[in-house]
């Protein structure tokens, strides 16, 4: 049997879920025997041109998606990930519900940008505008399930390494993860 192919991406989040994944510690060595990691956690690249051959997010069995959907790059990446993954997992509270990045929804995008780049800068005050590299912020931060179909949700800020291990182990063994009280974490 070939190795299971896993990808992870990081959208609008803090990377804490990815860190919790690394907290698998020595279990990473075990995981490496059964799984192959296909993609970078940062795949928020921008497709500057509509080049059809550009396929650098490979076909995978599972993608763990950390972070909320906050900008146009995130939407684009998420759609590509969905297309090329058999299972998509909302990985941690930001992906599940929007969590902290969604606090921004109380304010308008312009208010946020003006506060950061105009009011709190002392030189060359301007909102970053180079459209070739800078993605546009969405008016509303949303959980990933608002953009694509999600197969599993892992809660927690971040989810514990044990829960991540349980989920991956189940999928490796071809079982459906059955989340119970010990796996849910709120906050």
């Amino acid at each position: 049997m070939g190795k299971i192919r896993i990808g992870t991406v990081w959208l609008g989040g803090c990377s804490g879920c990815h860190m919790s994944f690394l907290d698998l510690d020595e279990r990473l060595l075990e995981l490496a025997q059964y799984a192959e990691f296909m993609s970078s956690p940062i795949t928020d690249w921008k497709l500057h041109t509509p080049i059809k051959e550009y396929q650098d997010y490979p076909e995978v069995d599972i993608t763990l998606v950390e972070g909320a959907v906050v900008n146009t790059d995130n939407v684009e990446v998420l759609k590509i990930v969905r297309e090329r993954s058999k299972l998509v997992i909302a990985f941690g509270d930001c992906a599940v519900s929007g969590n902290v990045p969604a606090y921004r929804n109380l304010f308008g995008v312009d208010d946020v940008l003006n506060a950061v780049y105009l009011e709190k800068a002392s030189y060359n005050q301007q909102v970053p505008s180079d459209k070739t590299v800078i993605p546009k912020l969405l008016n509303k931060v949303v959980p990933i399930s608002h953009v694509v179909k999600v197969d599993y949700f892992i809660t927690g800020c971040p989810p514990s390494a044990d829960t991540i291990w349980y989920t991956i182990k189940c999928l490796l063994e071809g079982r459906q993860p059955k989340f119970t009280e010990e796996h849910y974490r709120y906050g």
Binding site: G7, G12, C14, S39, N71, V112, V133
Partner: protein, 475 residues
Amino acid sequence: MVKRIIVDPVTRIEGHAKISIYLDDNGNVEDVHFHVTEVRGFEKFCEGRLYTEMPGITQRICGICPVSHLLASARAGDDIMGIEVPEAAKLLRYLMNSAQFVQSHALSFFHLSSPDLLLGFDSDPAKRNIFGVIEKFPDLAKRGIRLRKFGQDIIEMLGGKKIHPAWAVPGGVREPLSEDKKQVILDQIPEAKETTRIGIEFFKSYIDKNKDTVENFGNFSSYFVGLVNEDGSYNHHDGLLRVIDANGNVILDKIDPRKYYEYIGEASSEYSYLKFPYLKSVGYPGGMYRVGPLARLNIVNRMGTPLADKELKEFKSLSPNGVVLSSFMYHYARLIEILHCLEKIEEIVQNPVIYKGKYRVYGGVNKEVGVGVSEAPRGTLFHHYWVDENGILQKVNLIIATGHNNLAMNKTVLQIAKAYIKNGDVKEGMLNRIEAGIRCFDPCLSCSTHAIGQMPMKVEIFDSRKNLVKTIIRD
């Protein structure tokens, strides 16, 4: 006709970024921009929150160094309350910060940068990752993983959780260390020190063999900024601000870090979501400075712990004036800091005060402005809050550690690009070197998996009218 190459995404850094390389008619590098492409807007959406909630909220800025934000935020709260935290709280905070330096620096060196160093910048990108290291250097990889775990475990012992522990609060900390953990920690110190020593020895032999890398990886003059004790010795949590120039002259000293805004300005740009801090007295962009491990070692006269002090002497001897300029040496500095932190952990857990002393005081809003400062693994971190009489935030300013290095990171990628890209010849290994230049400043990235498997990267070359000339896909 200028050509523009876009490197997208830059991998293994804390945040989302791209790099643009501009080539002149002869295909040589004219300019490079490092773009940070993410902003979540904490400085705005924290308005209306209570200052007591801020340690919990601002931790969520970063999953790699949540402890830094936790501590800086709690200290801003101490300032708003107008109190001094008890001795036990100071020690406990230093303990957690030390544990965090250990885990974050171990991650940076072993999980993320070692593939470049052990397997080579030009090695197969599909293997150039932590799993490639596990395959080829299983013992070292395992040691690195265990070193990081040691730091994470201490954070969990104190705060109940490895990532985003709800532990430090305005006025002190919620919980002291439980006494039964003392021996557990002490038992693991020897292995952790040994791993760090192995890392240091490896790195020293690497720089002996790779002089061109040291020479070209962000090797330039700049100012250096960080916290130090009154006597000029190392302190990563509770010191005074010191600024030195590239020759080691102390430009500013014994500055209350809460007055940072009198000395540091921030510039915005059209091409990056990361602002550019600079020294006000010098102006922009001449006031470029560096923070983090390299800066901290450059500004101190001693580490204050025996093993780290011995290493510091050797580190400083690399340069005639004791100021090490190459950004590649961030790695070396990082390892020396791990050593210091391990020695401090050993020392603090043997101090009875942390088990018996008062670790929290209470108070209300006594000042309407508070600033909290702490050294994060990547550099000096400032949290600046303006509150009303009820402690509700009216305005927030954060200068994040990585941000300080923005000008220096731009200069670093420019230097590397100029050194390795000639006559329009662009190869994957060159692009990886450019990214690795950014990683020197701490590739504090989200995850091992980046380093696992493919490193997707697209380089597009445009002419000056933004027409696509050529696309190189790296996979």
